[in-house]
């Protein structure tokens, strides 16, 4: 009965989002400390964790909405809005700085026409900063989705981007 009452209070959610969230929570919610695995699961399924899905996640996990929102907003990795088709992570940390990351970062921002945390107008790329990819012996590094690239230069980035576009 309690559950039914709670359901009535949930905002309307597109059926595919609702189904995806419930698939993940049904599968993972009984793990000890399940919230991060659940959020990873939702983001993997949908590409982001929709704000509208927070009440549903909270109900399924028996947490408050504030708890869930607080966790999503704490971690850099979780996003509340859809990303571009590919996410480009540019390393800003010291090892990459020592090998020209500042110049590379400026170049990539200019080339894509976006700042960090933004998506290109055509929806192709989202640009994110990252603080170390563990590729410090091959600096500077970027990661595209989960594909790591080392010894990146403005010229190599342009070559990669042009190859992607074709």
């Amino acid at each position: 009965m309690k559950r039914a009452a709670n359901v009535a209070k949930l905002p309307d959610l597109p059926e595919e989002i609702r189904a995806a969230v419930l698939e993940v929570t049904d599968r993972l919610k009984d793990l000890p400390g399940a919230l991060l695995p659940v959020l990873h699961g939702v983001q993997e399924a949908l590409g982001y964790v929709p704000e509208d899905a927070v009440p549903l996640i909270a109900r399924e996990m028996n947490l408050s909405r504030a708890d869930v929102h607080g966790v999503i907003s704490f971690y850099h990795f979780f996003r509340s809005h859809p990303s571009g088709r590919r996410v480009i992570y540019v390393c800003r940390a010291e090892s990459c700085q020592a090998m020209g990351a500042v110049t590379l970062e400026k170049h990539i921002k200019q080339r894509l026409g976006v700042d960090f945390h933004q998506t290109t107008a055509d929806g192709a790329y989202t640009l994110e900063p990252v603080y170390c990819l563990g590729n410090c012996a091959c600096s500077p590094a970027i990661m595209v989705d989960d594909e790591l690239q080392g010894r990146m230069t403005p010229a190599r980035f342009d070559a990669w981007l042009d190859a992607e576009a074709t």
């Binding site: 400390g33 695995p37 940390a93 990459c96 020592a98």
Partner: protein
């Protein structure tokens, strides 16, 4: 006749084109009708030579590198699969100076074995430490780790045996082993290399820890930036479960230990152990007060051993060869070996595992060969983003925990990032504060507010005239003291190290706009 060729699946090697090289070798072998088995090993850690391809010969493995896809046809023409001569030949791998002059204990198998093969791990001495441990009681295992002198390799350098003993001595109930694989320090990648190149050694180390303290569940808290390590660990855990090395009856001993990989959320602070435990519990990664110590009240309030990847991966060799064997390496209170990671602007970037006691100069000028740019070395940041910038004049400092503390630095996780003489140290100091502001968990004021004020003060120093600069520098040093003394954890408590070292050793960089 069948040939074996090794092409690393290490993330850094892949970042330089190793996947395309592996495919090209397989395709060319098929085209030429040559029976070649391609093994995807970890990296030997000679990153300036990656992708480094090796072939098995009767004399030992022969290396070629750096190999690109376009080189494959010529390599086949030179019969590289039999060790034939080619412009990219590096000779016998083990004879390459950089590798030959190392003391690889923790990294004994990395780059040698197939990280997906439990049989290969066992064939190279794997699980001997666990076999020894299974014949001992928990207290004796803890004693061996204590006697080895092993200290936490994550950075804090706390004696591992004491942590274990505290947890061991808590009576009864559920206990946990947690591996801190949130390797967020720039310039460090040794955890990643172990997890990708020899994941079973970490699993074995955690299993031994579980048996020692009476924990039946382990978690590897892995940074989300390491998808390759995640795949390697999950494959290895599945293989260990199938073979009975994880589960309810480890090696037929009746003892239970289970292991799970948990992905982090991209927050640097979660490398701090109490913040990591909060995160594992599904919460915001905010730092906890200590006490209670995690060894007494850790994950879910239960006794927990939390150690870094390298610490846990070093346990098997200590159990296999004995505490004395490990303890005999090193100097003073820094016993054993340290996997040092050379990074940044350095000619020969890579992993050097050596006993404590060599000098920074041997590492940077010897192994590293100086800067990649060919310019003079100006500063080396040792120990990650919270580590001090060491000026070139202090290159003769000995690599051990106490010697670094004595010069106002810290060895940390053994990452060394080299900068040449084009670096602007005021900008680096500003970045240290900026990074702290971005990554602060927000719990304590000196870190949360101090880091933001620090960025502002440094901006004013750089923009100001001599009088303003002097006034603001007093303020900055005062702020650094507040952060050092008043922060709850190492993030706010150590972020002043790079700032103060930049001020002390590179003061001229703050005077750039002097009028």
């Amino acid at each position: 006749m069948s040939f074996t060729v090794y092409v690393p699946r290490d993330a850094s090697a892949l970042s330089l084109g190793a996947e395309a090289v592996a495919h090209a070798i397989a395709a060319e072998a098929a085209r030429r009708n040559i029976d070649i088995k391609v093994v995807r090993n970890g990296s030997r850690g000679l990153y300036w030579l990656e992708p480094m391809v090796e072939v098995a010969t009767p004399e030992g493995r022969v290396a070629y590198g750096p190999v690109q896809k376009a080189d494959i046809k010529a390599l086949f023409d030179a019969n590289f699969f039999e060790g034939g001569k080619h412009a990219l030949s590096l000779g016998l791998t083990e004879e390459i100076d950089f590798l030959k002059n190392q003391q690889r204990l923790t990294f004994a198998r990395v780059g040698i074995v197939d990280p997906r093969s439990l049989d290969d791990y066992r064939a190279h001495g794997g699980y001997r430490g666990l076999e020894t441990a299974l014949r001992m009681d928990g207290a004796a295992i803890v004693q061996a780790v204590t006697d080895s002198g092993l200290r936490g390799r994550g950075g804090a350098a706390f004696p591992a045996g004491i942590k274990w003993k505290t947890c061991h001595d808590v009576q009864g109930g559920q206990k946990y082993i947690v591996c801190n694989a949130d390797e967020g320090d720039s310039g460090t990648y040794s955890d990643r290399m172990i997890m990708e190149g020899d994941p079973f050694v970490l699993i074995e180390g955690m299993t031994i820890a579980g048996i020692a303290v009476g924990a039946t569940q382990g978690y590897i808290y892995l940074r989300v930036e390491y998808p390759h390590a995640q795949r390697a660990l999950e494959a290895a855990i599945a293989a260990a479960e199938t073979a009975g090395y994880l589960g309810d009856n480890i090696g037929g001993s009746g003892k239970a230990f289970r292991l799970e990989v948990r992905m982090a959320g991209g927050a640097y602070i979660c490398g701090e152990e109490t913040s990591l435990l909060e995160s594992l519990e599904g919460k915001r990664g905010q730092v906890r007060f200590k006490p209670p110590l995690p060894a007494i009240q850790g994950l879910f309030g239960k006794p927990t051993v939390i150690n870094n990847v390298i610490t846990l991966a070093t346990v098997p060799i200590i159990l296999e060869k004995g505490a004395t064997y490990y303890r005999d390496y090193g100097v003073g209170r820094s016993r054993g070996t340290l996997p040092i990671q050379l990074a940044g602007n350095i000619k020969h970037a890579g992993l050097v595992e050596r006993a404590f006691g060599l000098t920074l100069r041997e590492l940077i000028e010897g192994y590293g060969g100086g800067t990649a740019s060919g310019r003079a070395v100006r500063a080396i940041q040792v120990g990650g983003p919270l580590g001090a910038y060491i000026p070139a004049s202090q290159l003769d400092v000995q690599v051990d925990y106490e010697a670094f503390v004595a010069i106002g630095g810290m060895l940390g996780h053994g990452g060394m990032v080299v900068f040449d003489d084009t670096v602007d140290m005021a900008a680096q100091a500003r970045y240290a504060m900026e990074f702290c502001a971005i990554e602060s968990c927000g719990k304590c004021t000196p870190c949360r507010i101090g880091s933001t004020r620090g960025v502002e003060v440094i901006d004013r120093i750089v923009a100001g005239n001599a009088a303003e600069r002097e006034r603001e520098e007093v303020l900055l040093r005062d702020l650094c003291n507040t952060m050092l003394a008043g922060s709850l954890c190492a993030l706010g408590g150590m972020a002043p190290f790079p700032v103060l070292s930049a001020l002390d050793h590179f003061h001229e960089d703050f005077e750039a706009s002097a009028t």
